[in-house]
Point group: C2
Chain length 134, copies 2
């Protein structure tokens, strides 16, 4: 923290005109609190976001969400332009982080988007910049 503390002190001198040691300490403390809170969830969140950040996987959740009903693996395979195996891997990954659920019925396996997945997709839709889709 030594070097970065120096720079932070100079920043505060610029921002606050006059600033004493207490100001620096206070600001450093504030930052540490911010860091602590942020750190706590970042690791698990990157796992979820990492799974969603792949075209094959995102397409599959989107399809489940758009369909609004459970879809069989063979239906999903018809949508994605990759191998059967890739779809299976993708669905496993999605299930592992809680973005889809699976249910087995006979020899068919059905998947559904979870509430979490639906919520994330909605947020993306609702906040999408103008002119970024159709």
């Amino acid at each position: 923290m030594g070097q970065s503390e120096d720079r932070l002190r100079r920043l505060l001198e610029d921002e606050l005109e006059e600033c004493c040691e207490a100001d620096v300490e206070h600001r450093m403390g504030e930052l540490e609190q911010v860091a602590d809170r942020a750190d706590r969830v970042v690791h698990t969140d990157t796992a979820v976001l990492g799974v969603l950040s792949n075209e094959t996987r995102l397409l599959l959740v989107r399809a489940l969400d758009t369909a609004g009903r459970e879809l069989c693996v063979c239906e999903l395979e018809a949508l994605a332009d990759v191998s059967e195996s890739a779809v299976s891997h993708a669905l496993s990954d999605l299930a592992n982080v809680g973005l889809v659920t699976r249910e087995k019925r006979g020899k068919w396996r059905y998947y559904n988007a979870t509430e979490r997945a639906t919520a994330i997709l909605s947020t993306l839709d609702e906040t999408r910049p103008r002119g970024e889709n159709a």
Copy 2:
């Protein structure tokens, strides 16, 4: 589509007991519609999610969001455990996909989380499974 159409037909035979050619056609059409809608936004969305799915970058947006005010690069550097350069790259990536804004004042550069970023983080928080954080 040939092979996957066969399997889809067998699925429908299972699900609907009796099913005629029209049923298959209908279901295939439904799927194509689902695929079209899904496809449209998947590409741009993976870009955003890909940027968020890295610990360094997610930590930085989280910090900006938690702080609730603009932060200077030197403040952000104090939070992330990587090089100055890595932080700069991370912030650029975030800015490029519209998750943070930048403003230059004097020799300091200030970043802020966008509404979109804030919305996504909120959704993650609100839908986080029990016991996955503190």
